[in-house]
């Protein structure tokens, strides 16, 4: 059975694009459109991976990542932050929050995302 990814992304357009990328490599994708929903979904039914946007309504991706890494049922779930905030400070904030990778949303994002999935053992 295909591994399941939880995508937390408030933009429906971007969520559809990222979902398509993940499904193209055989993963199943659930989408949450804000931080609190993402946390609830992840805790109730822990996925194999969380792909997390930084800019989210009501709670940003750094907070979501910290909550997931503090919760015993999600602390071992890898988190990849996929974001428009690509500067040094934002990168370090993401990694310090516990993210396993921090990937800027640019033209190479899909390729880097898939490489990281392979590196983390999510894809063979």
């Amino acid at each position: 059975m295909a591994l399941e990814v939880l995508l937390v992304e408030d933009s429906k357009t971007q969520a559809a694009q990222i979902k398509e990328t993940l499904e193209s490599v055989g993963l199943r994708v659930r989408v949450a459109y804000d931080g609190p929903d993402g946390i609830r979904e992840a805790i109730e039914n822990p996925p194999a991976l969380v792909v997390l946007d930084v800019k989210l309504p009501s709670m940003d991706g750094f907070q979501v990542c910290r909550r997931l890494k503090r919760n015993p049922s999600t602390q071992d779930v890898p988190v990849i932050m996929l974001t428009e905030k690509a500067g040094p400070q934002a990168t370090m904030s993401g990694l310090r929050a516990g993210a396993d990778d921090y990937i800027p949303k640019d033209i190479f994002a899909s390729e880097h995302l898939i490489n990281t999935l392979q590196e983390l053992g999510i894809l063979e």
Binding site: G87, P88, T91, M92, D101, Y102, P104, I107, F108
Partner: protein, 142 residues
């Protein structure tokens, strides 16, 4: 093109990216991820290195001149690392201490070492090292 040396022995991969416009910043980021992946850096460290290289590329782009970002493996004894460097002729005559304070405050969390070498032109060098175990495993693989 100046031969970028720095204090460490160079090893593959050796890559360069010419920075002419903002599109090239993405290419710098991508190339740095590839170079760090070849050396065996973990995804989080690749993110740090690519952010450091992209920030350096943004800095050189702001000078309005075409520059080259050099990415190469380095060896220091048994340890292997990735070095990111660029000539910075616009820094000639500027206090090295002031430059290093500014660079370390902006990029110090992303890499292990930041250096300013030479005078004609000065060269900014940044290095992140693999752990001893990762360096040994890289040598074993090769």
């Amino acid at each position: 093109m100046t031969d970028i040396r720095g204090p460490y022995h160079m090893r593959p991969p050796i890559m360069t990216v010419k920075v002419e416009d903002s599109m090239d910043i993405m290419i710098v980021r991508d190339t740095t991820r590839r170079a760090s992946s070849l050396l065996g850096f973990a995804p989080a460290h690749r993110a740090q290195l690519s952010s450091a290289a992209a920030t350096l590329a943004e800095l050189v782009l702001k000078t309005g001149e075409v520059h080259t970002i050099h990415l190469n493996g380095v060896l220091n004894g048994t340890r292997t690392g990735l070095q990111i460097s660029s000539e910075t002729p616009w820094l000639a005559g500027v206090s090295a201490n002031n430059v290093l304070v500014a660079l370390r405050s902006k990029l110090g969390d992303l890499v292990d070492e930041i250096m300013l070498e030479g005078k004609d032109p000065p060269i900014i060098l940044m290095v992140m090292w693999l752990s001893e175990a990762q360096s040994r495993s890289l040598v074993d693989e090769e």
